[in-house]
């Protein structure tokens, strides 16, 4: 069975492109448009990897990561943060919260695939 990835970002187009790339590589993808929405989407279902933006309305990425890490079901789920080069501080904050991997925005779909495949192979 294909592995499932949750992508959380407030940009619908970013989610679309990333999921096209990930689906093409053989992953299943669920999308969330912000932290709150993503938590609702997770709802206990098995997810192998989470990709989350930092800046989002309603619930930002850092809070979202902290919340996810509280949930026993996702204790071992790797999380990739989407940071920008101007946000070194955010990257450190994300790592402290439990998101150990990161991809710097703006990125090419291939870069995302590489980062994902270091953490889980399809």
């Amino acid at each position: 069975m294909a592995k499932t990835i949750l992508i959380v970002d407030d940009s619908a187009s970013l989610r679309q492109v990333v999921s096209i790339a990930l689906k093409g590589a053989g992953y299943d993808v669920i999308e969330g448009c912000d932290g709150k929405d993503a938590l609702a989407k997770l709802n206990g279902q098995k997810v192998h990897l989470i990709i989350s933006d930092v800046n989002m309305p309603n619930m930002d990425g850092i809070t979202f990561v902290k919340e996810v890490k509280q949930l026993p079901a996702y204790k071992f789920t790797p999380i990739i943060m989407l940071t920008t080069e101007s946000q070194e501080a955010k990257k450190a904050e994300g790592q402290a919260a439990g998101a150990k991997a990161w991809v710097v925005k703006p990125f090419q779909p291939q870069q995302m695939l590489t980062a994902v495949s270091k953490l889980i192979l399809p």
Binding site: D10, L14, V17, I20, P78, S86, K100, K105, P106
Partner: protein, 735 residues
């Protein structure tokens, strides 16, 4: 779903976000607490940029990046938001909108017009960033290295990368599954063998199943470079210990590469990084260990452990590579030491040497003359060899006095910074030609005039930032200092991209001050030169800014004292370039000896273009006019016999020496051409200082004194005469 659809979504989404930005910007001024609104605007810009990257719309990314950076500073409170910034942001929003619509048509690159618009806005945005935003650092260049070709005969068993991994205890909880990394590693090459180390495993009772206790020793065969292999474990680097040692074959390659490195002043770590045997991350770690070690041992005041030992000890590189890199460093250092072997000499000693060489030149000329008179072929040959050598000695003695102008130029960095701040203008200084060499005395004396010119350009030339922007120029003004050699002189330029000279105002002022008469016909260059007239204060005349007592006439006087001249190139609205032309050296020149009556005169050879005979026809035709036809060109000339009031009648045949200064040419009519001759300039006494047309004197081999002509002032006289054909001729007399 496909990418086209995603792009459509992106365009739709961007339009909505742009609307949000606009609403936010219009709202933000009325709000007391702007944090939420600013955040929303930032997020919108950020999203537009982030997704643009995914579609490869680099021009959108680049422009939006600047906007985002400014917003980021507003967000963290280091920049206040005011009406002006809102207006700029609205313009930027419109530009992003234009770019998005452009992208909607499927374009992958921006049009030149869009680019230009973006550039202007980016310049204005940079003002808020206080500096040029650092260009987004490209990914570290991948080590370029030749692939190791298998040398046939099957693979050698041990020629593999050796990777030793000790994952952090928390790895599993962080979602970093060691197995995933190993699987990914396998996509880069073959894992030849893997040994799992279980010695860290505690007794079953103490074991926490959620922790990672395992380590691995891996033999890995791959063509990938070290940085790529390290990249596999990128996300685990922080909590884990990872050592990667290259295969044997690689070590030899690295050794070759170290030897082939250019001789830059590199640190040991940098050398190893450069060839790819050490990764950036490893170097940082080793440097950290070195600093920590030094701190721990502070009490004993020991030297910190050498970085090479740390690297080898930590198993990051092989010892032979460290040795090779150290050798390389030593070799470079020795080479350096040889290069910079410099002797410091007292300037006075140098001056004495130059003086002696000058005397030698004169004595050589005298010997030459005697040899010619005696008509002894052997002696003539010997003296010609001697003069050639003396010439060489002279040239190399003169180069001893040459210094680069760079040091003088770079002093102005500080001046420009301070003065521009004082004036509330933004001015950058661009220096070129800093390596141009000129005589030390000239360098010392050029400082003050240059300072005047630079301050003048900043004060009156370059406009205030808002005036510049209104004229469509970048807010930051540019001041240029440039130096170069040009046919026997050195040229120093002070240029600005300011308002340029306003001819009419200069002329009006000059007439008002009685410097020129109304109705007098002046060339453009002459009008510009008026600013150097004594009594013409540019400060009061051209702008309302109060002057700082910068008398431009003093500048011209100083330059002329160095046998130099000043030219001005100015385009109104675009800027002014002031060009100072100076002789290369003050002491010795190559001269061209001419005779008039019984006197000899020297014309500096670099000014001589050609010599022609004054034909009978020209002579007759030019009896009462002062120009002749030189191959279809009008050549004004001066009869030196008249200029210097030399007694006696002209001989039957006269010659014309065509001299050139800058772009102007003139003919000097003389009796006799006596040929090239090198000569030492002896300054004229102060008594003769006011005489125009004479630059100095020299002693000939015969012991006679010859006067050195000042070509610039003679050339100027011919053109003055052209302009004022009716004015009575000046006469100069030499006693």
């Amino acid at each position: 779903m496909n990418l086209d659809q995603a792009l459509k979504t992106y365009i739709e989404e961007s339009r909505e976000l742009l609307q949000e930005i606009e609403d936010g910007l219009l709202r933000v001024e009325q709000e007391a607490d702007t944090a939420d609104t600013v955040n929303a605007i930032f997020r919108a810009a950020h999203t537009i940029k982030g997704s643009a990257g995914l579609f490869g719309l680099d021009y959108l990314v680049a422009f939006t990046h600047g906007v985002e950076s400014v917003l980021d500073r507003v967000r963290d409170g280091s920049l206040g938001i005011d009406a002006e910034l809102v207006a700029l942001m609205l313009e930027c929003r419109d530009h992003i909108s234009a770019l998005v619509e452009h992208a909607a048509e499927g374009a992958m690159t921006a049009t030149p017009e869009l680019d230009a618009g973006g550039q202007t806005l980016t310049t204005r945005l940079n003002v808020y960033l206080g500096k040029q935003p650092p260009a987004t650092t490209p990914a570290a260049p991948e080590a370029v290295e030749a692939r190791v070709e298998a040398s046939g005969g099957g693979r050698v068993g041990c020629d593999c990368w050796h990777i030793s991994l000790r994952f952090g205890r928390e790895s599993l909880r962080n979602g970093m599954d060691p197995l995933s990394f190993l699987r990914y590693l396998a996509t880069l090459g073959d894992i030849v063998s893997i040994e799992t180390l279980t010695d860290a495993l505690p007794a079953a009772a103490d074991m926490d199943p959620e922790q990672c206790y395992l380590g691995y020793e891996i033999k890995f065969r791959s063509d990938a470079d070290k940085a790529t292999i390290e990249g596999v474990f990128e996300f685990a680097l922080e909590d884990s210990q990872i050592h990667i040692l290259p295969p044997r074959g690689r070590v030899a390659d690295y050794l070759d590469m170290i030897k082939a490195l250019p001789e830059d002043d590199l640190r040991l770590g940098e050398i190893l990084c450069r060839v790819g045997s050490l990764t950036e991350h490893e170097l940082q770690e080793a440097l950290g260990a070195q600093a920590a070690g030094a701190q721990a041992e502070q009490g004993e005041a020991t030297e910190p452990a050498p970085i090479g030992d740390i690297l080898v000890g930590a198993g990051m590189v092989q010892p032979e590579l460290v040795d090779a890199a150290l050798d390389k460093q030593k070799q470079t250092r020795e080479h350096r030491a040889q290069e910079s072997r410099v002797v410091r000499v007292d300037a006075d000693k140098l001056d004495r040497l130059i003086n002696l060489v000058g005397e030698l030149v004169i004595a050589g000329a005298s010997t030459n003359l005697i040899a010619q008179r005696a008509g002894m072929a052997d002696l003539l040959e010997a003296t010609s060899t001697l003069s050639r050598l003396v010439e060489e000695v002279r040239d190399s003695a003169l180069t001893l006095r040459m210094v680069q102008i760079g040091a003088t130029f770079s002093r102005f960095q500080r001046v420009v910074r301070d003065v521009s701040r004082e004036l509330g203008k933004e001015i950058q200084l661009v220096i070129t030609g800093a390596e141009t060499e000129l005589d030390k005395t000239v360098v010392e004396k050029i400082g003050d005039p240059l300072m005047h010119l630079v301050r003048n350009s900043m004060d009156h030339g370059i406009e205030a930032p808002d005036a510049r922007v209104a004229r469509g120029k970048p807010a930051q003004g540019t001041l240029r200092l440039n130096a170069y050699h040009d046919s026997g002189s050195i040229v120093i330029e002070v240029g600005d991209d300011g308002g340029g000279l306003n001819r009419q105002r200069i002329l009006d002022k000059a007439i008002e001050r009685g410097i020129v008469q109304a109705g007098q016909n002046l060339s453009d260059q002459e009008i510009c030169q008026l600013i150097f007239e004594p009594g013409f204060s540019t400060a009061a005349a051209v702008t309302n800014l109060s002057g700082r007592g910068v008398g431009m006439d003093v500048v011209r006087k100083n330059i002329e004292a160095l046998r130099g001249t000043i030219e001005i190139d100015s385009v109104e609205g675009q800027g002014t370039t002031i060009r100072i032309r100076l002789p290369l050296t003050l002491a010795i020149i190559d001269g061209f000896l001419v005779g008039i009556g019984g006197s000899s005169f020297v014309i500096p050879l670099e000014a001589v273009a050609e010599c022609v005979e004054l034909s009978e026809a020209d002579r007759a035709a030019s009896r009462d006019r002062h120009y002749l036809n030189l191959r279809g060109e009008v050549l004004p000339f001066l009869r030196l016999r008249e200029v210097f009031d030399v007694d006696g009648l002209p001989p039957r045949r006269e010659n014309v020496v065509v001299v050139q200064y800058g772009k102007q040419r003139a003919g000097l009519v003389v009796d006799e051409l006596m040929g090239e001759f090198q000569t030492v300039i002896k300054p004229l006494g102060r008594l003769f200082g006011h005489i125009r047309g004479i630059g100095g004197s020299t002693i000939l081999g015969s012991g006679e004194v010859a006067l050195i002509l000042d070509v610039p002032s003679l050339v100027q006289r011919t053109s003055e005469r052209e302009g004022r054909a009716l004015a009575p001729p000046h006469a100069l007399s030499v006693q």
